[in-house]
C-alpha cells in the first residue's frame, strides 16, 4: 500500500503558525500569550487572533515575569499555554522560568504537570546588537526541568512544535531568526516529530559535524565544499538538546572517528562544550583526532555589520575545523 502525502513549500514561520493553529483547534486548553501577538509583530502568530479571539490569543503588557509566571499558574490548573518571547527578554522573566516553571514539579513531588511551551525567538546575525542577540540555550540546559527544542528547518519545526505542545512538561522552543524565512516541504497531514531523536541531515564517513538550528545549513554548506575536496562529512542535527540523542552522536563518531561541534552560543559552557564533553567521556576510544568545538567568540554581539559576522561560526570556519580534524 502506498500512501501519498501532499506537501507544501512553506517557511519556518508559517510552519510554526500552522502548528499552533492546528493544536489550538484540536485542544481548547491551548492558548497563547505574548507581546503584540494579536497583530503578529513577530510573524509566527499571524492570523491566530482573527480565528481564536482575544481570550486565547492574549496580548500582554511588558511584564515578562508576570506573564511567564501566569503561564505556570494557568498550566498548573489545567491549561496548556504557549508563551511567545525573545531570548533577550527572558532575562527579565528569568525567575519565573527557573524558580517556577523548571522547579515546581520536582519540588512538589510530582503533584503537578506544567505543559507550557516558551517560544523564544533568537535574533542574531541581523545587526540587532548586544541587547537583542542572545543565544542562551546552554544556560537552560544547565537547569533541569526544561525540554529544549531547536529545529533547523520548517519541517522539523512544525513537527517538533506539535510534540512540544503535546508533551506535559515545560519546553523552551528556540526559533532561530536566521532561518525563519527558509522554506521546506511540509506535509498537509498532521505529523509530529518525537522529542529526543536526532536527525542525520547528511550521511558521511570521514568526520561528524553536530550542528543545531541555523548552524545546520552552514554545516551542510561546509559539507558540500568538503565533498568537493574528497572529504565526506556527516551532519547530525540533534533537534532537541534536552533530551539529547547521545546515541546518535556516539554512533556517528564511532563511524567517522572525528567530531566537530557547532553552536551559535558563546563557546564557553555551550551546547558544543557539552557534546564535546560527552564524546570525550563516552566516545573517547573512537576518536582519532581532537574534538573541534566552534561557537561564538566570547564578546557581546557588536552592532556594526563590519564586526558582527566575525563572531559566529561560518561555512568556512566549519569546513576548516573539519580539515583540522583530518590532518
Amino acid at each position: 500500500m502506498v500512501t501519498q502525502t501532499q506537501t507544501r513549500n512553506i517557511t519556518y514561520t508559517q510552519a510554526i503558525n500552522e502548528a499552533m493553529r492546528e493544536e489550538m483547534r484540536l485542544d481548547e486548553r491551548v492558548f497563547i500569550m505574548g507581546e503584540d501577538i494579536q497583530k503578529g509583530v513577530y510573524g509566527a502568530s499571524g492570523g491566530l487572533f482573527a480565528e481564536f479571539g482575544g481570550e486565547r490569543v492574549r496580548d500582554c503588557p511588558l511584564s515578562e515575569n508576570a506573564f511567564f509566571g501566569a503561564a505556570v499558574g494557568a498550566a498548573a490548573v489545567g491549561m496548556r499555554p504557549i508563551v511567545e518571547s525573545l531570548s533577550s527578554f527572558m532575562w527579565v522573566g528569568m525567575d519565573q522560568l527557573v524558580s517556577q516553571a523548571a522547579k515546581m514539579r520536582y519540588m512538589f513531588g510530582g503533584q503537578v504537570n506544567l505543559p507550557i511551551v516558551y517560544r523564544a525567538a533568537m535574533y542574531y546575525g541581523g545587526s540587532m546588537a548586544a541587547h537583542h542577540s542572545d543565544r542562551s540555550h546552554p544556560l537552560f540546559m544547565n537547569i533541569p526541568g526544561f525540554k529544549i527544542v531547536f529545529a533547523s528547518n520548517a519541517y522539523d519545526g512544525k513537527g517538533l512544535l506539535k510534540s512540544a505542545i503535546r508533551t506535559n512538561d515545560p519546553v523552551i522552543f528556540w526559533e532561530d531568526r536566521t532561518i525563519l524565512g527558509a522554506r521546506a516541504e511540509v506535509p498537509e497531514d498532521d505529523y509530529s516529530i518525537p522529542l529526543g531523536v536526532a536527525d542525520v541531515k547528511r550521511q558521511g564517513s570521514d568526520a561528524t559535524i553536530v550542528a543545531i538550528g541555523g548552524m545546520v545549513p552552514r554545516a551542510l554548506t561546509a559539507a558540500d565544499a568538503l565533498a568537493a575536496e574528497g572529504i565526506s562529512a556527516e551532519v547530525i542535527d540533534p533537534r532537541t538538546l534536552v533530551p539529547l540523542d547521545k546515541a546518535a552522536i556516539l554512533k556517528s563518531v564511532a563511524k567517522t572517528g572525528r567530531l566537530v561541534v557547532v553552536d551559535m552560543a558563546h563557546k564557553t559552557c555551550s551546547a558544543a562544550s557539552e557534546i564535546a564533553a560527552i564524546v570525550a567521556m563516552e566516545g573517547f576510544w573512537d576518536l582519532q583526532a581532537p574534538i573541534q568545538r566552534l561557537g561564538t567568540i566570547n564578546v557581546h554581539i557588536p552592532f556594526s555589520p563590519a564586526l558582527e559576522p566575525l563572531c559566529y561560526p561560518t561555512n568556512e570556519s566549519i569546513a576548516e575545523a573539519v580539515r583540522t580534524t583530518m590532518s
Partner: protein, 328 residues
C-alpha cells in the same frame, strides 16, 4: 455572617497552626527538622481569616513563611509534618520541605522560597479560571518585604487590566528579615499601592480573624463576579525570629521587646477566643476541649512523621518530568 461551625473551624485552624508551629520549634531545636523553617506564630488570623473566605476548590500560593497558609486552607497536618522531616509520606514526598509545601488536591499550588515569585503563579491560576469559565478565585500570600519585588507590580497590573479573580494578600508583619517596612516600603501602607492599579486596597487588622475574613470575603465576591483583583494588607507581627534559630546569628535586636509585648497583647488566638465566648458561640470549656483535640492531632502528626520512612534513594530520580526523559 459566619455560623457557629465556621467560627469554630476558624478557631480550630488557628490552634492547629499555633500548635503545629510549636511542635516545629521543638523539632528544630532537637535537630529533627533541618534546613530553614519560618514560624507563623502571631500571624494566624491573617491566613485563617482569609482562607475561611475561600472554597476548597479555590487556589492559593504562598511564600517561605509557609506552614500557616496550607493549614489555613485546610491542608493536612500529618503530611505537612512528614514533609518537614523529609519523609516519603510528606505531601511533596520529602522533596519540598518546609518552604515548599503544596497540596494540589485542595488548591494549594505551593509555597515559594523565592520571594515574590509565587505572585505571578496565582495570577495564572486566576487566568485559568477565566479561560475555563469557572468561578474559582486565587489568593496569594506575600510579605511586606516581597511587596518591593518587581513581580508584585507586574502581577497586579496584569491582573487588574484583565480583571482576573485574584486576591493579593500582603501579610505585613512589619519586617523582612531584619529590615523594617517603614524604612523599606515607600508608602505608609502597602494597601495604598492599590491605587496605582485602580483596584481596591484594604488595610485590615491582621490580628482579628473576623476582620480579615470580612475583607477577604468582599474581595472574593468582587473577584468571583468578574470585577477583578483586590489588594488586602493584614497588619500583623511575628513573635519569633525571622527563621527559627536565626536569633543565634543576628544578636543585635532590630525589634524591641516592648513592641513584641504590645503585639502579644493582641494575640490573634486570644482575640478570637474572647469573641467566641462573648458572643456565646462557645464556652471556655468547649474551647479548651478543642485545643486539647488539636494538640493531640499535632502530636499524632509528629508521631506519624517520625515513624514514616525516608524516601528510597531511587526516588531522587523521580518527579522531574511528567513525560520522562533519560536523566543522568
Amino acid at each position: 455572617m459566619l455560623d457557629k461551625t465556621a467560627l469554630t473551624e476558624m478557631m480550630r485552624r488557628m490552634l492547629r497552626i499555633r500548635h503545629f508551629e510549636e511542635a516545629v520549634i521543638n523539632l528544630v531545636e532537637r535537630g529533627e527538622i533541618v534546613g530553614a523553617a519560618h514560624s507563623y506564630i502571631g500571624e494566624e488570623a491573617v491566613a485563617v481569616g482569609a482562607c475561611m473566605a475561600l472554597r476548597d476548590d479555590d487556589w492559593m500560593t504562598g511564600n517561605h513563611r509557609s506552614h500557616g497558609h496550607p493549614i489555613a486552607k485546610g491542608g493536612n497536618v500529618r503530611t505537612a509534618m512528614a514533609e518537614l522531616l523529609g519523609k516519603r509520606t510528606g505531601i511533596c514526598k520529602g522533596k519540598g520541605g518546609s518552604m515548599h509545601l503544596a497540596d494540589f488536591s485542595i488548591g494549594i499550588l505551593g509555597e515559594s522560597g523565592i520571594l515574590g515569585s509565587s505572585i505571578p503563579v496565582a495570577v495564572g491560576a486566576a487566568l485559568g479560571s477565566r479561560l475555563q469559565g469557572n468561578d474559582r478565585v486565587a489568593v496569594c500570600f506575600f510579605g511586606d518585604g516581597a511587596s518591593n519585588e518587581g513581580a508584585f507590580h507586574e502581577s497586579i497590573n496584569l491582573a487588574a487590566i484583565w480583571k482576573l479573580p485574584v486576591i493579593f494578600l500582603c501579610e505585613n508583619n512589619q519586617y523582612a528579615v531584619t529590615s523594617s517596612f517603614k524604612e523599606m516600603v515607600a508608602s505608609d501602607n502597602i494597601s495604598d499601592r492599590a491605587a496605582a492599579y485602580s483596584i481596591p486596597g484594604v488595610l485590615v487588622d491582621g490580628q482579628d480573624a473576623l476582620a480579615m475574613h470580612e475583607a477577604v470575603t468582599q474581595a472574593v465576591a468582587r473577584a468571583r463576579s468578574g470585577q477583578g483583583p483586590t489588594l488586602v494588607e493584614g497588619r500583623t507581627y511575628r513573635y519569633y525570629d525571622h527563621s527559627l534559630g536565626l536569633g543565634r546569628i543576628v544578636r543585635d535586636s532590630y525589634r524591641d521587646d516592648d513592641e513584641l509585648e504590645q503585639w502579644r497583647q493582641r494575640d490573634p488566638l486570644d482575640i478570637h477566643r474572647a469573641h467566641l465566648i462573648e458572643q456565646n458561640i462557645a464556652t471556655p470549656e468547649e474551647l479548651d476541649a478543642l485545643e486539647a483535640q488539636v494538640k493531640a492531632e499535632i502530636e499524632e502528626a509528629v508521631t506519624f512523621a517520625r515513624e514514616s520512612p525516608y524516601p528510597d534513594p531511587s526516588e531522587v530520580w523521580e518527579d522531574m518530568f511528567a513525560d520522562p526523559i533519560p536523566l543522568e
